[in-house]
């Protein structure tokens, strides 16, 4: 089943075209990695899926992005509800300057959950799923900014899970982390696959091989190749993909 169906997606920042006629399907409950050299448009592409690009001044988007067969750029779409369903984790951990608990509870509170008992359950559940509960359950009242980078990033994943999304978009979620934290986050991502559709932008080929089911290679705003991760890395069909994954450029 397809989660996203993308057709002829083009995006301009002012007069600079960042995405060129991208068409691809993204399967539900799978992990799709987006790879490519810096500035190839993969992060921009990721942000079109929860409409974070709307906030950039002078952005222009054509083509269509269907999520669950509905056009997410249709005028009647409630962008905030869309972003609740399609969560995002950023490159740099971005815990808010509040307690661990309040960070995770921020989303549900925003969406109107007030009862403390209900919040307690949501927070614990999200932190369990993000594999930070055991480490942090005794530090719920502590400021989140005092945590280590790896803990902060997993807390941010817990925060994203707390609004009960269907999709997780991850923009280089481990690039600011040390190897041990990285492997913890990778384990976490793999374990989340059953319940979520995950897209992950990464510069780390090994990571793409390790965690993803399918891989899409981006270059200069175009999507060059998309297929099962194993196949793309072992038998790339396009010369440019091969050059990139064998480290000849980028």
């Amino acid at each position: 089943m397809n989660a996203f169906t993308i057709k002829d997606l083009c995006l301009w920042y002012g007069s600079m075209q960042a995405l060129k006629s991208i068409s691809m399907n993204i399967e539900a409950n799978s992990i799709t990695s987006l790879i490519g050299p810096s500035g190839c448009g993969k992060s921009t592409f990721l942000k079109t899926l929860n409409r974070m690009n709307d906030l950039v001044e002078g952005v222009q988007i054509t083509g269509s992005v269907l999520y669950s067969d509905k056009d997410i750029y249709a005028p009647e779409v409630d962008v905030n509800m869309l972003r609740k369903r399609i969560g995002m984790v950023f490159q740099k951990p971005t815990p808010f300057a509040m307690s661990v608990y309040d960070n995770v509870a921020y989303g549900p509170r925003t969406h109107g959950v007030k009862s403390r008992a209900e919040l307690d359950i949501i927070v614990q559940d999200a932190m369990l799923r993000a594999a930070v509960w055991d480490e942090l359950k005794d530090r719920l009242k502590k400021p989140a900014l005092a945590l280590s980078g790896g803990q902060q990033q997993r807390l941010c994943i817990a925060r994203a899970l707390a609004v009960d999304p269907e999709v997780l978009l991850m923009d280089e979620p481990t690039s600011a982390l040390d190897p041990i934290s990285t492997s913890k986050v990778e384990e976490l991502i793999t374990s989340l696959k059953q319940s979520f559709t995950i897209l992950i932008v990464t510069h780390n080929m090994q990571q793409a091989v390790r965690v993803s089911d399918s891989t899409a290679f981006f270059l200069l705003g175009q999507m060059i190749e998309h297929g099962p991760a194993e196949r793309v890395f072992s038998y790339p069909r396009d010369k440019r993909t091969e050059d990139y994954i064998t480290g000849r450029f980028g």
């Binding site: 971005t94 808010f96 509040m98 921020y106 925003t110």
Partner: protein, 286 residues
Amino acid sequence: MNTRFKETAVKAVLLSFALAAVASVALITVFLVSSGLPAIGKIGLLEFIIGKRWASTAKDPGFGILPFILSSLYAATCSILIGSPIGLLCALYLSKAASKRTRAVISTLVDLLSGIPSVVFGLVGMMVLVPGIKQLFNLSDGSSLLSAIIVLSIMVLPTIVKVSTTALDAVPREYEDSSLALGASQVQTWLGVSIPAARNGIAASLVLGAGRAIGEAMAVMMVSGNAANMPSLFQSVRFLTTAVASEMSYSSGLQRQALFSIALVLYVFIMIMNMALSWLVKRSAS
């Protein structure tokens, strides 16, 4: 002459200029303390600080400055209470909601407001505010604490707006994006993430504003009637600053010394605020 000697010489010259500012502060402090203490000694600290009667030229003189202290605190607090929501919301609009053009226009006007001499505020207050308050509340005279509070509320706005805007601008974009990505609306994000993240800078803007309000003399003197009453909203009052300014020119003896003591008290208040400010700034940096 070798290069190293030149470098040292230039540094020494720069240092001496930097010390000019330090020397001024030191000089003012020494001057205020040495000329402010004798009267406090003669009157008695308690009598001076909590005495309610100020009659510096009477046959049986009274030198209690509690009315001035309370009036100053009252006016500064109220003007911050009125000015902070207006200033903060203005800053929020400028930093987050306004287009570049609108922001440029409004910022320029706010800058202009901060550049208006305080005597002009006083004049406008005298011509517009004082008669207005007199009519509105059916008073015999509109020169009152209320007039001073309103004038000060406007005078502290530029400080609050500018410093708060800077603090809100400095909130990392990723914080706000993270909130939006959770499905929060822009307004929810500003209130739930941007303002809390900028809270130390915002608090600093309020302290700076309060400092400005306490230190203001000319504008409040022109609209407050300058009678040494205990503070009451619709009555004429005198402040620490205006107490010094209004009597200095004809003062003599103990009266003159007491005016220096008032200036010392004012100075202590400003020092406390500056300490609070640098504490806030240090905290927001960490």
